[in-house]
């Protein structure tokens, strides 16, 4: 049982290897096809490849990072015009012009993305759409630069070592090689740390931020990467066609590109290639199969295909193929060993902490000696007229567990949100390990060593348990976008080590069997355990637990309590918000009681249980106990 997580890792690696083999095969087939196809089919192949390059970027941006772009055609267009203008006006070599176009678009995308990516959901979709339309209008209207609606020609072809790429076949060879390179880069990005961070942002940006992932910069870098892919396609296109005008870069092209990504399958690199190929070929087949079928029929079918696909097959062709493959393999496996596997025993929390974790905990400095780790002073948090926290003072020394209790609406979660950076305080200071953290962003706070769990469990549902933990393990360091693009063996070695650590953590919280289960498929109790493993992966010095026991059954609560004690023994300071008083009283070193945003009592559990102000706050001054027990059933264990 313990080794099952490890035994899955080689399988995963084998999966990658199998895909790489398929990719190599596809590459060779494409090369061979380039040798034998006629001019007409070669032209279609070239268009497939040109689109595939853009769509691969879109898959990374939309499918992996969850950021939609309806303006990708604009980046293709700017790439195309830049390369065209540089070569015709300034006699620059097409190769250099192509690189310059990619650089320019990269910078432009960073400038555009900086404000745009702050938008979320459909606002981002429409912001990018507006950007695309503005660029398109610019191409039409800026006559002196672009030649207006009719564009200009005389753009030179690529040439190298005396070979000029001026026939469809020569271009197809060039494009097959470049597309293969782009696919390789996209696949590298889609398999490493950046991919996990991107999908974490897609699944829940706030949670990713609280794990220390710099989400704003990550989104921006993926946006720039997709734009550079688009510019590459645009630059290649003009030196193939030798002519440029605005028409190919209109809004409909952006839609077409996104349609290709959706039809192919947004969550797989292969989906990008498949989508570009299927839609381009389909369009051409339609043109030749239905005589007289011009643009309009194509338009209708295109739209209808998009709608039908989205309704009935939202995971795209790649998703469908993957599902079919899994179905077939499970059917075959089912027949070969029909005995089936016995259901595993109820997973229990491991007795021992992984050594590396103990080591790294001991290694981490625990603040200035004698000073408390966390010091909250005069903290006030106001939402309009509502005062959620009023002049709150709290200190948490390392190695201690401070429980924060109070009736609903007392400001407990607000306090956690301020400490973890999700809310800025109205006034007052929050000092952690010698740093002022009040009002700063969650990611840098997390990197200082503050980890948290959420009242409404926040796992990344469409990522496996192992990946959930990995996101936290590698939040701070690891290969960036550029390093991920080449994926050196060194990167792979580091990754394997981290995967080991992640499985250790999963075993520690009793999830060893679920390393490759999607987090969203776990029951609530196990999702809470996963959250805890993820928080530990941050190697926190302060751990904020927001109602960790809610929704757990008594035996799970006992396990959780044991786990929390183990963590405290590691030297982690813990703040615990919890309504189960028995749980709190058994665990807490100190208890702070909040009511209406004010601290009304603080002290060891025994004192708090007898404190008249606390009893009054919980039970009311005038009501008898029976009534309160009905309205507030989570209060067993408190005095009275």
């Amino acid at each position: 049982m313990v080794s099952s997580a490890k035994s899955k890792a080689p399988f995963h690696v084998a999966g990658v290897a199998r895909n790489d083999l398929l990719a190599l095969l596809a590459f060779l087939v494409a090369l061979a096809a380039t040798g034998v196809l006629g001019a007409y089919h070669l032209t279609i192949l070239n268009f497939v490849l040109l689109r595939a390059i853009v769509v691969l970027g879109l898959v990374l941006l939309t499918g992996y990072t969850g950021q939609i772009s309806f303006g990708q055609a604009a980046f293709v267009g700017i790439g195309a015009y830049t390369s065209a203008i540089l070569t015709t006006r300034y006699d620059i070599s097409p190769w250099l012009a192509l690189i310059a176009a990619m650089l320019l678009v990269g910078v432009l995308a960073a400038l555009v993305g900086l404000p745009l990516l702050q938008l979320e959901g459909h606002y981002l979709a429409l912001g990018t759409l507006a950007f695309g339309l503005i660029v398109y209008t610019g191409m039409l209207e800026w006559h002196s630069l672009t030649g207006g609606p009719s564009g200009f020609s005389g753009i030179p072809a690529f040439s190298i070592l005396g070979i000029t790429f001026d026939t469809p076949r020569a271009n197809a060879y060039l494009l097959v090689v470049i597309t293969a390179l782009v696919t390789w880069v996209a696949r590298n990005v889609a398999h490493g740390r950046i991919s996990r961070q991107a999908r974490a942002v897609r699944d829940s940006q706030i949670t990713a931020e609280c794990l220390g992932v710099g989400t704003a910069s990550l989104k921006l870098r993926m946006f720039v990467l997709a734009a550079v892919f688009a510019a590459l396609s645009g630059g290649l296109y003009v030196h193939l066609i030798r002519f440029v005008n605005p028409a190919p870069f209109d809004f409909l092209y952006s839609v077409e590109l996104l349609t290709m990504a959706v039809v192919g399958g947004l969550t797989s690199i292969w989906g990008g290639l498949l989508g570009a190929a299927v839609l381009t070929v389909l369009t051409e087949a339609l043109r030749s199969a239905v005589p007289g079928a011009t643009g309009e029929v194509q338009l209708v079918l295109f739209g209808a295909l998009l709608v039908v696909m989205l309704i009935f097959w939202p995971s795209g062709l790649a998703g469908g193929i993957t599902r079919a493959y899994h179905w077939i393999t499970t059917q075959m496996r089912g027949r070969s060993n029909s005995a089936g596997t016995e259901s595993p025993a109820l997973p229990r929390v491991a007795e021992t902490i992984p050594d590396w974790l103990t080591q790294s905990m001991k290694g981490s400095p625990s603040g200035v000696a004698g000073e408390p780790l966390l010091r909250v002073a005069g903290l006030t948090c106001r939402f309009g007229g509502l005062v959620a926290l009023r002049q709150l003072d709290l200190t948490v020394p390392s190695n201690r567990l401070l429980a924060v209790i109070g009736p609903n609406g007392a400001g407990k979660t607000t306090l956690f949100n301020v400490i973890s950076g999700l809310l800025a305080p109205t006034s007052g200071t929050v000092e952690f390990a010698g740093h002022q953290i009040g009002g700063t962003r969650p990611a840098p706070i997390a990197r200082l060593g503050v980890a948290r769990t959420f009242q409404n469990v926040e796992v990344f549902p469409r990522m496996t348990c192992l990946e959930n933990v990995l996101v936290a393990l590698e939040a701070e360091q690891g290969p960036g976008v550029l390093a991920s693009m080449i994926r050196l063996p060194r990167v792979r070695a580091v990754e394997r080590e981290l995967e080991e650590q992640a499985s250790d953590l999963l075993r520690f919280v009793g999830l060893a069997d679920h390393a490759s289960t999607l987090a969203g498929d776990l029951p609530l109790g196990q999702q809470r355990a996963l959250e805890l493993a993820r928080a530990m992966a941050q190697r926190p010095r302060l751990l904020l637990l927001d109602e960790p026991a809610s929704g757990l059954n008594p035996s799970e609560r006992a396990e959780l309590a044991r786990l929390i004690r183990t963590l405290r023994e590691l030297g982690i300071a813990i703040m615990l918000v919890e309504h189960d008083m028995e749980f709190v009283m058994n665990l807490a070193d100190e208890i702070a009681v909040l009511n209406y945003g004010e601290k009304i009592a603080e002290g060891p559990p025994a004192t708090i249980q007898r404190d008249p102000a606390v009893i009054a706050a919980y039970l009311g001054d005038t009501l008898d106990d029976g009534q309160i027990q009905q309205t507030n059933p989570g209060l067993k264990g408190i005095g009275a």
Binding site: T62, I68, L114, P115, L116, Q118, L119, E120, G121, H122, Y123, A125, L126, G127, L129, A130, F131, L133, I134, T137, G138, L140, E141, A216, F251, L252, V255, L258, T259, V262, G295, E296, V297, Q298, L299, V300, L301, F302, G303, A304, L305, L306, V307, L310, I311, P314, A424, E431, F432, G434, H435, Q436, I437, G439, T440, R441, P444, I445, L448
Partner: protein, 296 residues
Amino acid sequence: MNLSLELPQWIISGITIGGIYALVALGFVTIYSVTRVINIAQGEFVMLGAMLTATLHNRMPLALAILVAVIAVTAIGAGVQRVALYPARRASMVTLIMITIGVDIVLRGIALIIWGTAPYSVRPFTPGPPIIVGPAVITRQALWVIASVIVIVVVTYLFFQRTMAGRALRASAANPVAARLVGIRPERMALLAWAGSAALAALGGAVVAPITFATYSMGLDLGLKGFVAAVAGGLTNPAAAVIGGLLLGVLESVGAGLHSGLQDVIAFAVLLVVLIVRQVGILGLWGRFGPRPRPA
């Protein structure tokens, strides 16, 4: 160019086209409030209203032609909701936008097959010379457009405030769960919102057709402009959407008067600025990239 002479004229024509943007925006807001779907195809309902009116008004009285066109487009709107949106009602927001784009493409393609690329003209509702007010010339049809927009906005307002169906729609928009608990069926409300929005758009298309001509490709542009107006008004506020539409029309018309290439850029530049300022705010940007923890 003499600004004081031209400006009133630009403002008048801006209000006229802005009125149509306002109707599209009103449709956007209705659908978005009730179903949280951004309907990119909204402009195609305007196009269908204009096209059907243009085809029918040579064969029957104008009023009847408009009535038939509006009813037909209303049915199309309801049909789109049933066939394309309802089956995917649990899909993500991005999927839903993509579906409406697909619908937009299909409707435009069908229009292209039926009517071709040629523009169709519709004769003005009341023939006669334009009315001259000071330096500005107002065509009679522009008055029709402005009057229709006013009537439609008032009727829509009364519908939302005074009728049971209108109140149910508002309840559904404000709190779908609570609305459901008191017996309002969300799927029926979604259907009603789509049908009503399509009707508004079709009526807009019918009254504007004599001014702009009717072409198969007029929809996307109108739809996007209407959307800009709706966003400027906050996407859920009908009154603000109407004002946004009128303002956008005027802004565009003045911009186009100053430089003909500016017209389209203005709308989308406005959209970008509005989106960024509304959703993020300058301070928001600072917050994302600004302060970091510092040693105390």
